[in-house]
């Protein structure tokens, strides 16, 4: 029986749900100390002075550092040269939450008390807390080296003025893609121990080898004695692939005081100091004919980079503009983007990273076309889909060479679940009844780019390479250990990789374990991001397992005095096809694989061990069709999702349970962006949503049940056929939800509502229409 495709329970769960997981904060090595930050309360200010005298004399305090203590050190890696964030603010602070000083003490409470005693004297500067403020003429400049606040501007190659002028119809939207805080349950946590035998850094991180490479380079120390460990990690959503000052500060302070130094971010800090996501504004225009066929698309993206632009953040509008056309065949596409700094928390990858922004805008535009032409939104989609026979399909962007998809097929599958005609009748009926709640039906045919990636794709973000490593090692008893560089942070990789390996090796699932996260254990690695763990890392597990299996067959053939080509396996027993009575068990093959006298000629001991650096030729392109049905309370403006139908095409499914889990989680985050979450600043740059009482992360009780379905167009870039599913939900859900809300209100002339759709926004619209 094949395990790939089976609903296998997660190997990870027994530990995690009984409280036996091990997160960085659970580690308490002897002599462990605690580091606490003093963070800026000003969005933009000069630092006149920092008085640390009282903190230094508090009993239990071991060190107090400001930028003066680390003046010789380079800024935090990952930024843009000249615009990068200092480990501790030097002379100027540029956002609320920027680190100004750190205290190390024997325990966290003393460190926090000492931090309170530090007095920072600020000279406030004018702040720019929004894109419009940062781009206004005469706006205060964040980085003098830049001269203005625009970091990079990519103009239209051809603004398509003639196409738009000649088109039968055009429509435009200004869209704000709301800033979100990733808010993993585990915030940033790290623990550094730099002793005589080298530096070990435990960190809640998605890419431990990437951090190992960088931290060794930063300190000029050899990698053989630099070890990074990401143990159990409680979510990351992209926020844990960027380097943050605490990694370097805890390491240095550990070296300085000769004891381990731990930093555990508080939730309040996490909301302002962990990198944010989204934060884009779009000016989008479409030209189309009277039948709703799209003739041209023009998109200009303005990306808020926060105070210190970083490589990942700079990549966001690149991905957004690459995916601007979504599932549609659009004859002419013009793109432009601009990166701007503001006095806010820096922005980087957040679940979907640039693709949710793209799908949101194109799917809003599709509904706008439907609204303008009177053609049903489902039909507008069908009329513009790239047809199944058009793959591989070259888009306007060299990044996005769509390799496969069946967009109409996913929509057909979706409509099997959605009673669309009945819903439309019901909608009409309710509009006539002033006491009834309004009904809205919203669709999203979404497409994203995942499976990072082909050579060069991650190098562009500072990674060593874009392959993923997999080592498959058979133990002498015939059990197997898989080592992967795709260190997970909640995905269930330990389970899916064991499933893949079990099928390839013919070894029982329960006798396969997966090791990850420790650079001293896993040969090399890249990390888990961009929905690549299965599409790239899982493919590596398959390749390495296949190689090991071939060698095992040779040994079995030798023992059975047969030819390797004739050997098959069942129930962990090798035998010659057709004669199961005479067999050798895996355990014997494994044992003898280490004994030179038992091996076939020319085979070396230890041959059942294979390491692969798996490459893939292209990105993958998960897609799907979602439908959201909402009810709107006419009196309060409250929006309630009554149904959510989700058809995903992630290619081959390794484990339906885990795919559903990823879809549910991603959709929850998508609904969160559409209805609840918004990181808001006041004009002076003070965050207005700096606690979880104001920054509304929805809980299970705030989310609907989901009806899930699936189509399968296999990924042609790997033999598994898997595309990746980690980010899909957050790509598809926001447009489905907002399209439903706009549909519910369309009889009032509503064309667009920015996220999050709050009750007061809807109420104001309803009042305005009275």
């Amino acid at each position: 029986m094949s395990l790939v495709g089976a609903r296998v329970l997660r190997k990870e769960d027994p530990n995690l749900i009984t409280g036996n997981g091990q997160y960085v904060d659970d580690l308490q090595p002897a002599g462990c100390t605690s580091m606490v930050f003093v963070r800026s309360t000003e969005a933009h200010a000069k630092i006149r002075s920092i008085d640390t005298a009282e903190a230094l004399v508090l009993p239990g305090v071991l060190a107090v550092w400001t930028s003066a203590n680390i003046a010789q050190l380079a800024n935090c890696p990952g930024g843009l040269p000249g615009l990068d964030q200092p480990l501790l603010a030097k002379d100027v602070v540029r956002f609320v939450g920027e680190g100004v000083a750190v205290v190390v003490a024997t325990d966290r409470y003393i460190a926090a008390d000492a931090a309170e005693l530090i007095v920072v004297d600020y000279e406030p500067l004018p702040a720019v807390a929004s894109l419009s403020a940062a781009m206004a003429p005469g706006a205060v400049v964040l980085h003098e080296a830049l001269g203005g606040n625009t970091v990079h501007f990519q103009d239209f190659e051809n603004p398509l003025d003639d196409v738009f002028a000649a088109a039968p119809r055009t429509a435009s939207l200004h869209i704000v893609n709301n800033r979100c805080a990733p808010t993993p349950i585990e915030p940033n946590v790290c623990l550094a121990d730099w002793g005589r035998s080298g530096l070990t850094l435990w960190a809640a991180f998605q890419a431990p080898h990437h951090l190992r490479n960088t931290i060794a380079q930063y300190f000029g120390i050899p990698q053989d004695s630099t070890r990074v460990v990401a143990p159990d990690v409680g979510g990351g959503f992209g926020a844990k692939i960027n380097f943050v000052p605490e990694f370097f500060l805890t390491a240095l302070l550990s070296k300085e005081i000769g004891r381990p130094v731990k930093y555990t971010q508080t939730r309040s800090e996490c909301l302002v100091a962990m990198l944010h996501g989204r934060a884009q504004e779009h000016d989008a225009s479409v030209a189309f004919d009277n039948d709703g066929r799209i003739l041209a698309l023009k998109l200009s993206v303005t990306q808020d980079q926060g105070a210190y632009p970083n490589g990942t953040g700079m990549g966001l509008p690149v991905l957004t503009t690459a995916m601007a056309a979504g599932c549609y065949r659009i004859p002419a596409v013009a793109i432009s983007w601009r990166n701007v700094v503001t006095n806010t928390t820096p922005v980087a990858a957040y679940r979907g990273a640039g693709r949710p922004e793209a799908s949101y805008t194109i799917e809003r535009l599709i509904d706008l076309i439907a609204d303008e032409t009177g053609v049903d939104p489902v039909e507008v989609r069908r009329r513009n889909f790239i047809p199944v026979d058009a793959f591989p399909y070259a888009t306007h962007s060299p990044l996005a060479m769509y390799d496969s998809g069946n967009f109409a097929g996913a929509l057909d599958e979706l409509l099997k679940h959605v009673k669309y005609d009945e819903l439309k009748k019901e909608q009409e009926k309710r509009r006539q009844d002033p006491a009834a709640k309004l009904l809205g039906i919203g669709f999203a045919s979404w497409l994203e780019i995942a499976g990072f990636g082909p050579p060069g794709s991650l190098e562009a973000f500072g990674h060593l390479a874009s392959w993923e490593s997999a080592q498959v090692r058979i133990q002498p008893d015939g059990s197997a250990i898989i080592f992967t560089g795709a260190s997970p942070h909640g995905q269930g990789t330990v389970t899916t990789y064991a499933q893949i390996a079990a099928d390839e090796l013919g070894i029982d699932f329960d006798r396969i374990s997966v090791k990850h996260g420790d650079t001293a254990v896993v040969p090399q690695g890249i990390g888990t991001m961009g929905s690549r763990a299965v599409a790239v890392g899982g493919e590596g597990v398959k390749t390495a397992s296949g190689r090991v299996y071939e060698n095992a067959k040779r040994i079995a053939a030798h023992l059975l005095e047969a030819s390797a080509e004739d050997i098959v396996i069942e129930d962990e027993k090798f035998f010659v096809k057709g004669t199961p009575a005479r067999s050798v068990p895996w355990s014997e093959v494994a044992w003898k694989s280490f004994q030179p006298l038992e091996l076939p000629g020319g085979m070396e001991p230890g041959g059942l061990d294979s390491t692969v650096f798996q490459q893939v030729p292209n990105f993958s392109f998960p897609s799907g069709a979602y439908c959201c049905v909402v009810e709107i309370d006419r009196e309060t403006g409250g929006v309630n999702i009554v149904n959510m139908y989700l058809v995903d095409d992630c290619g081959t499914v390794i484990n339906p349970l885990l795919v559903e889990g990823q879809v549910h989680g991603g959709v929850a985050q998508g609904i969160a962006q559409a209805l609840f979450e918004h990181m808001l600043y006041d004009p002076s740059g003070v965050p207005r949503t700096s606690t979880l009482m104001d920054y509304l992360v929805p809980a299970a009780s705030d989310l609907p049940g989901y009806v899930t379905g699936r189509t399968n167009t296999p990924n042609p870039s790997n033999t598994l056929g898997a595309k990746g599913v980690g980010e899909s939900g957050s790509v598809g859900a926001p447009p489905a939800v907002v399209n439903a809300v706009v549909d519910a209100l369309s009889h009032l002339g509503v064309k667009h509502i920015d996220m999050p759709v709050t009750p007061i926004k809807v109420w104001n619209i309803l009042e305005g229409a009275k």
Partner: protein
């Protein structure tokens, strides 16, 4: 998120708590469920020198029938009130409101007394106490005194519990077989109300509003109108009298006043079912 240093002592009885309050003075705070106090301490908005833990005082955790009253000990948890057959029978509004507070974890820790003494205008239970016409029993060095719910709430997070005093019990007049409703408008199920309306009908009706003023608010004109048997429209016309609604990310003053009317109307509809 890391509180300042504090001392911790356990009180074993009401008398012991009063003694400890006197001993530790202004710098001490009583610790009940901790679900309002500890978040404030973690944000260092409150930094008591000593916490006097009263949760081990068994004599303050009870629900009992006393003639025309149901008396609830101040340390009774929200969850116990929500599930009590006695409360469900005679004070269904109070039982229901207790079940609307936060989430199960909060309801298993938070106490009725803590919620009332905290005096948050956005909290649920103070509105239920106001609508049902509850009386607070407060003990101190000079013995016991009784204060009506209406006089008890003084200002934002300020109640009539004086330094050295402890709230010991809440006496609710029975509202057996009377109509009632609680309407709570939230963005997330576990949130504090953006606006809430607690409505008690029957012989001694009352209507109280959540998050519509600087303190838990009894809508007096509306309550009087209801006792006089006024039409719903007339109640709605005065429901926002003397309110002072806050403005925040979720609502403007205008929107809150609108919600108060909508929710009151709905409360009447529910109560009459």
């Amino acid at each position: 998120m890391i509180p300042a240093q504090f001392d911790y002592v356990e009180a074993t009885s009401v008398a012991d708590a009063i003694r400890l309050l006197a001993e530790h003075g202004d710098e001490a705070k009583l610790l009940a469920g901790g679900h309002s106090l500890i978040p404030l301490m973690k944000l260092r908005l409150v930094t008591p020198a000593t916490l006097i833990d009263v949760t081990h005082i068994k004599e303050l955790s009870y629900i009992k029938e006393d003639g025309n009253n149901i008396v609830i000990g101040a340390l009774t948890r929200h969850r116990d009130i929500e599930q009590s057959e006695l409360v469900k029978k005679h004070l269904p509004l109070v039982a229901h409101v207790a079940g609307e507070v936060g989430d199960p974890q909060v309801r298993n820790r938070g106490t009725l007394g803590g919620s009332l003494v905290h005096g948050d205008p956005a909290a649920d239970l103070p509105a239920a106490a106001l609508a049902t016409g509850a009386t607070m029993v407060i003990a101190g060095q000079n013995g016991e005194r009784r204060v009506s719910a209406q006089e008890f709430f003084i200002d934002f997070l300020e109640t009539d519990v004086q330094p050295g005093e402890i709230l010991t019990a809440i006496e609710f007049p029975k509202h057996t077989d009377a109509g009632w409703a609680y309407e709570k408008f939230v963005r997330r199920a576990m949130d504090y109300a953006i606006v809430g309306v607690a409505l008690q009908l029957g012989a001694k009706p009352g209507v109280a509003l959540v998050n519509m003023s600087n303190k838990p608010h009894l809508a007096q004109s509306a309550s009087q109108a209801i006792s006089k048997g006024a039409a719903i429209a007339d109640v709605l016309a005065v429901i926002n009298d003397n309110t002072n609604p806050p403005e925040d990310l979720n609502a403007t003053v205008e929107y809150r006043e609108h919600l108060a009317r909508v929710l009151t109307q709905r409360a009447f509809a529910t109560a009459s079912k």
